[in-house]
């Protein structure tokens, strides 16, 4: 090493000698030597428009379908009821079949399985609301080489009698005990509008589309409340048309029923509330790093500008607690609770469809000391949503409805001002 190099090393050593910080705190205080500042940094985070159908499918996992009217719906699992035509006739017959003679009063039931309706958190809205759009597609399959006619057929709902495990029947008459609205049975005629009968040709399938909102509304309520329920189909079945036909012992009339719950609802004036909670990963910071971050951050705020082109408004309240917990987050001590955020419902037409979107600016503000739950390994978020009805109460959610969100974050942090 040459002499000037040695001198340079010596000088550098002299300069830095003794300035090794004794601790991380001392080192950080050293870097805070600048003037004390509260610095605000505002940046846009997201700007997007969400189609309602995508939100329901992608975020909530609800499998939706679009009804011909454009309204979104959730299918109830298809089920079927069978009438054995061969059994009614008493074996295999090939003859001139006279429907005036071969007429039978029939009824049959089929219990719907648990989970036939999967609403992924929208149960409360459907249960507390009144459904206006609920199409039921009925496919009637005739396997016999003879036409059949279904006259005065109805579709109703009959609960399973817990005592017997069978569909409830009147002990005196043996008739099925239908769900009622007051004293009026909730049934839907199985025929095209204006008709009372459905004719099904030889070995063919006929489809009938029904509008059966009250029936599906009740069915959805029973399924949501997990009440064992059957679809009950009853009416008069006639076989033949006065010409040669064949009915074998294996022939049957199979009626497949596929209801759809439409998101065309009248909500109660106070809206419908439902809670959910979810466990999410936090930033996974060590305790000292988290403490440093909390000391550094003065506050953080999310600014949301929402344009709501769905027929419903939303009020959201959120609470957060560190770590994964069960139970009502809103009741836990030490929770960080965010003031309710409200996005009002837009104006709607008489059929519940959106006329003009509503806009709202909302902000979620957290003090630096409130950021604790997000800094650990995981946190639990409790979300209390209240779906708000539009004026008039009825809202029809269409596949083309959308929600636009412009989100920004404002971080205020402290620098400088060493103690």
């Amino acid at each position: 090493m040459r002499i000037w190099q040695a001198a340079a090393v010596f000088a550098a050593g002299m300069a830095v000698m003794g300035c090794e910080p004794a601790s991380i705190t001392e080192a950080r205080d050293q870097l805070r030597g600048g003037p004390a500042r509260r610095v605000e940094l505002a940046v846009p985070v997201a700007r997007d428009t969400f189609a309602v159908q995508d939100v329901l499918t992608d975020l909530s996992g609800v499998q939706t379908t679009t009804l011909p009217s454009g309204v979104l719906g959730v299918p109830i699992a298809e089920d079927s009821v069978t009438f054995s035509t061969g059994g009614l006739i008493g074996g295999t017959v090939t003859a001139i079949l006279d429907p005036a003679v071969l007429t039978f009063g029939v009824d049959a039931t089929q219990e719907l399985p648990t989970g036939a309706l999967d609403l992924q958190g929208f149960e409360d809205a459907i249960r507390d609301g009144t459904i206006h759009t609920a199409p039921v597609t009925v496919a009637i399959v005739n396997t016999a080489d003879a036409p059949v006619t279904l006259t005065g057929f109805t579709i109703g709902l009959v609960r399973i009698d817990p005592a017997t495990g069978n569909p409830a029947r009147d002990p005196g008459t043996g008739e099925l005990v239908y769900e009622t609205d007051g004293s009026v049975p909730i049934v839907a005629p199985l025929a095209a509008p204006g008709d009372t009968a459905v004719a099904v040709g030889r070995q063919t399938t006929t489809t009938v589309d029904l509008a059966a909102a009250p029936l599906v509304d009740r069915l959805a309520d029973l399924l949501i409340d997990q009440v064992r329920t059957t679809i009950a189909i009853a009416g008069t079945l006639s076989i033949g048309d006065g010409t040669l036909g064949t009915v074998t012992g294996a022939d049957e009339v199979l009626i497949r029923v596929a209801p759809v719950v439409g998101f065309d609802l009248t909500l109660p004036a106070g809206g419908v509330s439902f809670d959910s909670s979810l466990v999410e990963n936090g930033l996974d910071l060590s305790a000292d790093v988290a403490a440093e971050l909390v000391a550094f951050l003065d506050s953080a705020a999310f600014d949301l500008a929402v344009t709501n082109a769905t027929p419903f408004g939303v009020e959201a309240t959120m609470a957060f607690v560190p770590s994964a917990v069960t139970g009502d987050v809103f009741q836990l001590p030490g929770r960080v609770e965010v003031a309710p955020l409200t996005v009002g419902a837009p104006s709607v037409a008489g059929d519940g469809t959106v006329v003009a979107p509503a806009t709202a600016d909302v902000a979620v503000a957290l003090a630096g000391s409130d950021l604790g739950p997000f800094l650990g390994t995981e946190f639990t978020a409790g979300i209390r949503l209240r779906l708000l009805p539009p004026t008039g109460g009825r809202g029809a959610l269409r596949a083309t409805d959308w929600l636009a969100v412009r989100a920004g974050v404002r971080i205020v942090y402290r620098t400088g001002g060493a103690p």
Binding site: W4, G18, I24, V39, V43, R406
Partner: protein, 433 residues
């Protein structure tokens, strides 16, 4: 410039009538100090440093100065400590940015030299010296607006022009020949001794590199949008091997000095680095990207994304040409006044005035006191005002003998020792015969 310089010399000569009474007694150490050693060594480049010594000899020397305008030694050590502890957080970096003075941006530079000189007098009136030196200049300027984004936030300002950001480096080898002509005493025995110096250095660049943001580069961060238009002009010698045929240049240095030996008073003006250096085979290129988005996420994603992403335009570095580039070394005028305060204390004031050039430092004034309790063992202490760091402190010691020279000096710039934001050091070792 040269005409003005000569004009000033003539004016000073005309004014060089005998000054007041003799300030330094004949028997004082000051009076017996070798005439050449009365010229206090300056910080930085000084082509006449050893030529003023009145003996033939050989001197090797080396020195460096460097610093920044924001972080002290303690600050840097704190950053290193946190990094070593694995505890360096974003908040620490932001706090460090808070140390950058508002309005000036982050600046750092370094200048270093090492080499040897050989020279001596031919009689009383002429000295000639030859030098061979290696020099390096480097620095970084970060536009204050770029620092301001994190230091000051976006509450009051959303547009951040960053067009003055640059980094540069130049390494050279040079050989030089300088001469000093001395006249006097003029008028009487107490009259002034006029020294006129001049010389030239042949400079051979070894490496050159410069990257600078284009003037219209800017960042835009508002609550509604994020945008950046950044263009960088690059110019550098791409061949990393050391070669001596990468261009050349001749720069001139000039000296005018008036000494009143009996009064212990002197005035000096020195102009250095007059001329340019042409660097061959400099590859000039440009790189830029434009991005404008309504979301930060899109900007971040786009940095990794297909440049065809809408709203994002990343252009590959495009080479414009390979050409010869003229670089002006930091042209500096140094004005010095020297006086003996008493029999052991000499005072010097030097103003280093930048006159342009590519790597120039801001105006600085050095005040140096030289204490000669023993004639050949000067102790030096001083203050520096200006430059990039503000107030600084200098110290040095030496052995300035007839046959032997040793000097060591150091400077603590912008603060004292641990609070310094810059440092300088220099060592000289010479033998005379």
């Amino acid at each position: 410039m040269r005409r003005a310089f000569l004009g000033a010399a003539v004016a000073l000569v005309c004014l060089s009538s005998p000054l007041g009474a003799q300030a330094v007694p004949d028997d004082s150490p000051a009076r017996r100090v070798d005439f050449g050693y009365r010229r206090t060594p300056l910080r930085g480049v000084d082509p006449f440093r050893h030529l003023t010594i009145h003996h033939w000899g050989f001197v090797v020397s080396g020195g460096a100065t460097g610093g920044n305008n924001a972080l002290s030694v303690k600050d840097v050590r704190a950053l290193v400590f946190l990094e070593e502890q694995g505890a360096l957080e974003v908040s620490d970096v932001v706090n460090a940015l808070g140390l950058v003075p508002t309005g000036s941006g982050l600046q750092a530079d370094i200048e270093a030299e090492a080499g040897a000189s050989l020279g001596g007098p031919f009689g009383r009136h002429l000295s000639i010296g030859f030098t061979g030196m290696g020099r390096a200049y480097g620095g970084v300027d970060v536009d204050d607006a770029a620092v301001s984004l994190l230091r000051d936030g976006t509450a009051n300002r959303q547009d951040f022009p960053i067009g003055t950001t640059q980094g540069y480096a130049l390494a050279t080898l040079e050989v030089g020949a300088h001469a000093i002509l001395r006249f006097g005493p003029i008028g009487s025995g107490d009259g002034a001794i006029l020294s006129l110096g001049g010389g030239a250095r042949v400079v051979r660049p070894l490496f050159y590199g410069r990257g600078a943001s284009q003037l219209d580069s800017r960042l835009l961060v508002s609550p509604d949008s994020v945008g950046a238009r950044v263009g960088v002009d690059l110019a550098f010698t791409p061949d990393p091997t050391i070669t001596f045929d990468r261009g050349s240049g001749v720069v001139g240095d000039f000296l005018l000095r008036l000494d009143w030996p009996n009064q212990g008073f002197a005035l000096e003006a020195m102009l250095i680095n007059v001329g340019t250096v042409t660097i061959q085979d400099v590859e000039r290129s440009a790189w830029s990207f434009d991005v404008a988005s309504s979301t930060l996420a899109e900007v971040v994603d786009s940095l990794d994304a297909d440049p065809a992403t809408p709203g994002f335009d990343l252009r590959e570095r495009t080479i414009a040409d390979t050409t010869a580039l003229a670089v002006t070394l930091p042209r500096t005028l140094r004005l010095t006044a020297t006086a003996w305060a008493n029999r052991i204390l000499q005072l010097d004031a030097t103003a280093s005035i930048p006159l342009g050039g590519d790597f120039h430092a801001p105006l600085a004034v050095d005040l140096v006191s030289t204490w000669r309790f023993v004639r050949v063992l000067p102790l030096r202490a001083g203050l520096v005002f200006g430059g990039r760091q503000g107030i600084g402190y200098t110290a040095g010691l030496g052995i300035e003998g007839r046959n032997f020279l040793f000097r060591a000096s150091a400077a603590s710039l912008g603060g004292f020792l641990q609070d310094a934001r810059g440092a300088a050091g220099r060592v000289e070792l010479g033998f005379f015969f």
